[in-house]
């Protein structure tokens, strides 16, 4: 117990590892972690980069979340789409994002795309593919717009258009037919939107809405719910229960005291 409650400096804790291995050997199946399912897309255009993602999170065959945000903030000029194990993509990008923030405060300069890419790939390589984060990193720095994908094992490549996740097979067809050099901003946005929608409709792991982030020189625009291709149809009438429907055995009410700030102390 003591090891559990002493504040730790950081890093992973393997206290339960042997126990869980024992349970696994006993024939117990370990519970499913939340996966992003996912269609994530990124594309370069004339003077910037667009990132796009669907918003479905799955646990096995259950839709765990219908409106999850898969495009994470890395720096004001760098964003990152995540596919794979949801917790891994979220924590990995959050970790690198905070390290870059400290680096910016130290140096007083804009974050470089290459810093983010290198930090992410070295982290993932250190963990030898056990951190299940497949990332599309997009940004704009002194070298102009850049786009790269990073695989869970820690390899990265730069490409003008990228898609990852279970919906990538559907999305890639849109990108392969429509991407050209020096796309206009709106054309790029439309193409990425259509690519993500191809994933939403043709891949069971992807669904709900399309979120976009457009990064240009000194300007980053986040377009939440840029497209809602699967609208929810409201119920025609409701199932509101009458008060008193539920039989109660026991009730206890704890009144809360509302604390308001008193008058300031006179310190004149």
């Amino acid at each position: 117990m003591e090891t559990n409650i002493i504040p730790r400096k950081g890093g992973f804790n393997f206290d339960n590892y042997k126990r869980n291995l024992f349970l696994e050997q006993k024939g117990l199946t370990l519970p499913k972690v939340t996966k992003t399912g996912t269609t994530i897309v990124g594309a370069l255009f004339k003077d910037g980069v667009v990132l796009g993602a669907d918003t479905r999170a799955t646990g096995g065959s259950i839709v765990q979340d219908k409106d999850i945000i898969k495009i994470s903030y890395i720096a004001p000029n760098i964003y990152c789409c995540g596919a794979g194990t949801a917790a891994d993509t979220l924590f990995t990008t959050a970790l690198i994002s905070s390290q870059l923030e400290l680096h910016r405060l130290t140096t007083g300069r804009q974050s470089r795309f290459n810093s983010a890419e290198t930090m992410l790939k070295q982290l993932l390589f250190r963990h030898q593919g056990h951190i299940g984060a497949a990332l599309i990193l997009g940004g704009y720095d002194i070298n102009g717009p850049v786009l790269a994908h990073i695989y869970p094992h820690g390899s990265s490549e730069h490409h003008p258009y990228i898609t990852m996740g279970s919906g990538s097979l559907a999305a890639v067809s849109v990108l392969e037919t429509r991407w050209t050099k020096n796309l206009e901003r709106q054309d790029a946005i439309d193409m990425v939107k259509d690519a993500v929608e191809a994933g939403i409709f043709n891949d069971l792991g992807s669904g709900s809405n399309v979120n976009l982030v457009v990064i240009e020189k000194n300007k980053t625009e986040s377009l939440r719910e840029y497209s809602k291709p699967t609208p929810h149809h409201p119920k025609n009438c409701d199932y509101k229960y009458k008060r008193g429907t539920t039989a109660i055995l026991k009730e206890s009410i704890k009144d809360l005291v509302v604390v308001t700030d008193g008058e300031a102390m006179d310190i004149s």
Binding site: P7, F14, N16, N20, L28, V33, T85, A86, A87, I248
Partner: protein, 204 residues
């Protein structure tokens, strides 16, 4: 058999108008055998925030103690109560720390923040937060609860209406889950008071 269904249990949380509710069944069992009927999986952390920990009971209890400790340390250090959103991050990072040796729980956090804005969220066993503005569910009755909550939940329910909705959703779900049931408890958290009610339910 999986550690998630070894002991059984169901927890659900919902948002209402300026209020939240969190409810749990009270069964403690070992596979198909019921051992106790007074084991709620929902624990208060502060006056206005609760955490639900359905899953493997040994981990439920271990984590409850860890969160009690951590929330108390937070209070001592910060000289204020932990906000539900902060609490959810605390739970999340505690779980992700065990990325490769996780606790088998499916935590839910529900509460009102300092401006009395409702907050609920759920997590998977390694701390991936799902924050919603309607309802979150967990435990062996997860699938049942998802189905019924999608149907009966509606926005802006008053505390008393929210109580009926969450109670009926839970009771109906656990009636179709052999691993959950044997009584239920509901907490409705409003800015003025916390109403805790024990429900009459089937005991089989």
């Amino acid at each position: 058999m999986s550690p998630g269904s070894y002991n059984g249990g169901a927890v659900v949380a919902m948002i209402g108008k300026n209020c939240v509710a969190i409810a749990s069944d009270k069964r403690f069992g070992v596979q198909m055998q019921t051992i106790g009927t007074e084991f709620s999986k929902v624990f208060p952390v502060t006056e206005k925030s609760y955490v639900g920990l359905p899953g493997l009971t040994t981990d439920t209890q271990t984590l409850q103690e860890i969160f009690r400790f951590k929330a108390n340390m937070y209070k001592l250090r910060e000289e204020r109560e932990i906000e539900p959103r902060t609490l959810s991050k605390l739970v999340s990072s505690t779980l992700y720390e065990r990325r490769w040796g996780p606790y088998f729980v499916h935590p839910l956090v529900a509460g009102l923040d300092k401006n009395n804005q409702p907050f609920i969220c759920a997590m998977d066993l390694i701390g991936c937060i799902t924050e919603t503005c309607d309802f979150v569910v967990g435990g062996t009755s997860e699938e049942n609860l998802f189905g019924i909550c999608e149907s009966v939940w509606e926005p802006d329910l008053e505390p008393e209406d929210l109580f009926e909705t969450i109670s009926q959703a839970l009771l109906c779900s656990i009636d179709r889950d052999c691993f959950a049931g044997w009584g239920a408890v509901v907490h409705v958290i409003t800015p003025e008071r916390v109403i805790t009610r024990t429900l009459k339910s089937r005991m089989d």
